[in-house]
């Protein structure tokens, strides 16, 4: 129980660090997926702790959401790549103040 939540926390932290540290857009998207899965794991763990199905319902919702997010995210990354010729997230900084 405790262990599952700890694992979820570690995964979430790793995902966050990945988003913040990596510049490759694909890797950043993967890191976001890891964060989502960490959240899903926390829901599953909580559901099994209280013996309720809500946690699993929530996880299926997160799965669907993640699929949609990847579809939109990859399309955006493709457009960015066509425009900038690179996958470097920091190259897309034309909107600075």
């Amino acid at each position: 129980m405790q262990h599952a939540l700890l694992l979820a926390m570690v995964l979430f932290a790793l995902g966050t660090i990945g988003v913040l540290m990596r510049r490759n857009l694909i890797v950043m998207l993967m890191s976001v997926e890891i964060m989502l899965n960490a959240a899903g794991l926390a829901f599953i763990a909580a559901g099994s702790r209280w013996g309720q199905a809500d946690g699993q319902v929530m996880f299926i919702l997160i799965l669907a959401l993640a699929a949609a997010e990847v579809a939109v995210g990859l399309a955006l990354i493709l457009r960015l790549y066509q425009r900038l010729g690179t996958l470097d997230a920091d190259a897309a900084d034309q909107m600075r103040g």
């Binding site: 966050t16 988003v19 913040l20 510049r23 950043m28 997230a89 920091d90 897309a92 900084d93 034309q94 909107m95 600075r96 103040g97």
Partner: protein
């Protein structure tokens, strides 16, 4: 049928609203139909209302709704028609309609065609409200409305900064008078408790003794407003510059209607002037001085429209002279004839100027008599009427009546009469100077283009009116038909000298005035057609040139105001730029600019920075929720 009264200003106002909202998107034919048609309907309604009124001349008030109701002040949107306002309404609507028709052709090549008609319609609506208002606050609304339209139309060709300057000058100078008038309204309301004109006049008579301080103050303040609007001494400097606007605008606003609003105001509140004899005398003296000064100035202008502008100032001087001696109906009579012949002069001058390719200098014109016969005959008829040549024209009857009434006004009378007589001589000289220089002599500039029926009809109709409009008031020695003054006596008190008295003295004075006018035409003929050598030499002498320059520049009034008011004000504004109030506000501005610069540093455009910011914020929030 009098119930149609409120609709008369409503139609031009509706026309303005449509043209203003559509902002030139309508097809041109529609713009013409709306712009001219709305004023045409107003004219028809005015005719119906006036015909009904003449059947039974009883004043009629129509209150449409209550405008404001606060602690005792309840001005209405209300219309009042009596002989005075009815006649003003009819003349304003009719002349406006003719000038709108003229404009439909005159302005047809202009890119601001729709804007022009929008402003003109708003002007007509405001002017009709001014004339028909039953209370002074509503009158003041129309008063400011016509001022606004005057400003907009003087600066109509706004791409030339000089036109904008002329427009601002007109607005600011009349503002001086308008401020005085507003204070006058405050004085009247705080002391008499109403602004409805008829009850106000009754209250004034009931509460104020003749010659006491309050009526003098109120009358003087209202006079200030009238002086500004009607371009009388010392606020006359804006009118010559107002000629920067299109010529039909000069004809309608700066000759026939708006500038006579001051005359109407004084006639409308004549009871106050009867209660304030010093102010009443001042009106006559100001009128006499103005008509002389403007006459001399008109004599030395070379711009055709400026000649007519000074002539307008001078003729309104006659109206003020008449008001000042208590000849109320004579002033309104002269307003009517002046509206016809001065509009005619401006409109025919507009044809000359446009056909010569915007040439305003009369000395570059000449010999146009055969080339522009319609403009020549119209201008000649207008000039005859303005110069008041005897018997055959309208101007003679109205000016003659003013001079006779001026003579009969007590001790000051003969002096005022003499001023009017010299003014009449000047009038004949300056206007026939223009006639001889522009239309006679060798041809200098070949006119181009054509003049269509929409210009021709107003010229013909106004020419007829400039000749026959005077026959509504025929003096006793010629047949005695005082129809006009009899009508006016239902609204205005009788003049000092009974109109129908009929005496050899009156006949003699009329003969003198007639001879003076003919003499003026003769002088103009000799000086500007014959050009004898001794006269040329006299004109070219240094002293004479200096005097001509002095007169041409309006007796130095512009320079005087520039030195004593404009320049000190600009100087003060310049040295006062860095005072502590300005410092405070510019400090605020630079503070926010610095803060903006600091904050915009954080907008790097990098998505990882933003994500880091969101993360840090979430951690802080969660930490607060968990540990607090």
């Amino acid at each position: 049928m009098l119930g149609l009264l409120a609709l008369i200003p409503a139609f031009p106002l509706l026309g303005f609203a449509i043209l203003f909202v559509t902002a030139g998107l309508l097809p041109k034919r529609w713009i013409t139909t709306i712009g001219v048609g709305s004023v045409g309907i107003a004219t028809l309604l005015a005719l119906i209302v006036m015909a009904t009124f003449l059947n039974s001349p009883v004043p009629y008030t129509e209150i449409v709704w209550t405008w404001i109701a606060v602690s005792g002040l309840t001005p209405h949107i209300g219309f009042y028609v009596d002989a005075l306002s009815g006649l003003m309404m009819l003349v304003v609507a009719f002349v406006s309609f003719l000038i709108h028709l003229y404009s439909a052709e005159f302005m047809s090549a202009d890119e601001g065609y729709s804007r022009y008609f929008a402003y003109m319609n708003l002007f007509v609506a405001s002017m009709l409200m001014l004339v028909l208002a039953d209370n002074l606050l509503f009158l003041y609304l129309g008063w400011e409305g016509v001022g606004l339209c005057s400003y907009l139309l003087i600066g109509f060709w706004y791409r030339d900064p000089a036109n904008g300057l002329a427009a601002r000058k007109a607005f600011i100078v009349t503002r001086v008078g308008d401020t005085a008038m507003a204070i006058g309204l405050f004085v009247l309301f705080t002391n008499l408790g109403t602004l409805d004109i008829q009850p106000l006049m009754q209250q004034a008579v009931a509460h104020w003794p003749v010659g006491s301080a309050l009526p003098i103050a109120a009358a003087a303040l209202l006079l200030g407003g009238a002086l500004g609007k009607s371009a009388q001494l010392p606020l006359q400097t804006w009118l010559p510059d107002a000629m920067a606007g299109p010529t039909p605008v000069s004809a309608l606003i700066h000759a026939a209607t708006m500038v006579t609003a001051g005359v109407y105001l004084i006639a409308r509140t004549h009871v106050l002037y009867d209660l304030a004899p010093p102010v009443h005398t001042a009106v006559a003296v100001i009128g006499a001085l103005t008509l002389l000064l403007a006459g001399f100035s008109a004599l030395n202008q070379s711009d055709l429209k400026r000649i007519l502008a000074y002539s307008t100032i001078s003729q309104i001087g006659y109206m003020f002279l008449a008001l000042g001696v208590g000849a109320w109906s004579a002033a309104i009579f002269h307003f009517m004839t002046h509206a016809f012949f001065k509009a005619l002069l401006f409109l025919s001058a507009g044809v000359v100027v446009q056909r010569l390719g915007e040439e305003h200098d009369i000395f570059k014109m000449g010999g146009l008599r055969q080339r522009l016969p319609l403009a020549f005959w119209s201008f000649l008829i207008g000039s005859i009427s303005l110069a008041a040549l005897p018997l055959i024209d309208a101007g003679f009857y109205s000016k003659d009546l003013i001079l006779w009434e001026a003579w009969s006004d007590g001790a000051l009378g003969p002096w005022l009469w003499a001023a009017g007589l010299i003014g009449a001589l000047l009038t004949a000289i300056y206007i026939f100077r223009a006639v001889f220089v522009v239309f006679f002599g060798p041809l200098q500039l070949e006119p181009t283009g054509l003049t269509g029926w929409r210009i021709a009809i107003p010229l013909v109709v106004l020419s007829i009116l400039a000749l026959v409009a005077g026959f509504v008031e025929i003096p006793p020695y010629l047949g005695n038909v005082p129809a006009f003054s009899r009508l006016m006596q239902s609204a205005l008190p009788a003049p000092p000298a009974p109109v129908s008295a009929g005496s050899s003295l009156e006949l003699m004075l009329s003969a003198i005035a007639a001879l003076i006018a003919i003499l003026g035409v003769g002088i103009a003929y000799i000086a500007f057609r014959r050009r004898p050598a001794f006269l040329e030499a006299m004109v070219q002498s240094p002293a004479s040139l200096a005097l001509q320059y002095f007169w041409e520049t309006d007796w130095g009034f512009d320079r005087l105001y520039d030195r004593t008011l404009v320049r000190p004000f600009l100087w003060f504004a310049r040295i006062d730029q860095g005072d502590f109030i300005d410092r405070f506000y510019s400090g605020l501005a630079s503070l926010s600019r610095a803060a903006y610069r600091q904050l915009s540093e954080s907008e790097t455009g990098r998505v990882r920075r933003y994500a880091a910011g969101v993360t840090a914020g979430s951690i802080v929030l969660i930490a607060i929720l968990v540990f607090a």
